[in-house]
Subunit: 121 residues, 2 copies
Amino acid sequence: MDGGSDHHLDHDLDEVWKALSDPTRRAIMDLLRDGRKTTGELVSSFPGMTRFGVMKHIRVLEEAHLLVHRKEGRTRWNYLNAVPLRRIYERWVSKYEDQWSGALTNLKHIAEADEPKENQT
Amino acid sequence: MDGGSDHHLDHDLDEVWKALSDPTRRAIMDLLRDGRKTTGELVSSFPGMTRFGVMKHIRVLEEAHLLVHRKEGRTRWNYLNAVPLRRIYERWVSKYEDQWSGALTNLKHIAEADEPKENQT
DNA sequence: CGCTTATGTGACCGTATAGTCACATTTGAA
DNA sequence: TTCAAATGTGACTATACGGTCACATAAGCG
């Protein structure tokens, strides 16, 4: 679970992090959380963007393995794949959990340590 | 916890998502998890990059509130702020937790449902 | 005080990317 | 069979951004 294996997973997760950095793509993920959606349905959820733009985002999500699709005739169904999110949690967020319980305490400590010296900030 | 409040938090978290999309910045976060670091120490951790490049990343992290700094004379100490990560978890990852316990099951179900029809893929 | 160390800022540049558009193919319905 | 619906692909464009560089300031030390 540690060492090289994590490093390898971290490398794989770069695409996931990049995919999630865009708000439209996060919104697509949210929509898919409620159940599968056709490409057309996703497109119509973003009236301010052309369908090519939305499709481009769909493609990025798919390449990051956050989305899988199935064709049914002329209809393409898109499904959420939450596994990479789990990887994000395991590799990343969980490692900081022991930090954030004390995060505000740590910041207060820094503030207190700095307070006697007024020439800083 | 739901509705407008979440939406507001989501907007705030855009900077966090963007900040974490870069591998160098994630590496900086990892280094800070072990304890505060001077800018120079962070710079020396990336021998393949100029100090200006590293400093630029530090700035992005700071603007995303993932990092706070304190000056001590000519030395700048950088501290991890894990709170936005907690926000990421609460706003994002946790919402998908009920998804990923069944994620593989869902994907298998899709695969099984598709299997009888061979003209799809 | 002179020199070194630690850090800061703005300009520049090549690459990436979000989004649009032109043109296209395939499937479904009447 | 014709037309509509659903989706696909590559080119283009403006903006973003990761990284370098020139020049700078401020603090520390002997």
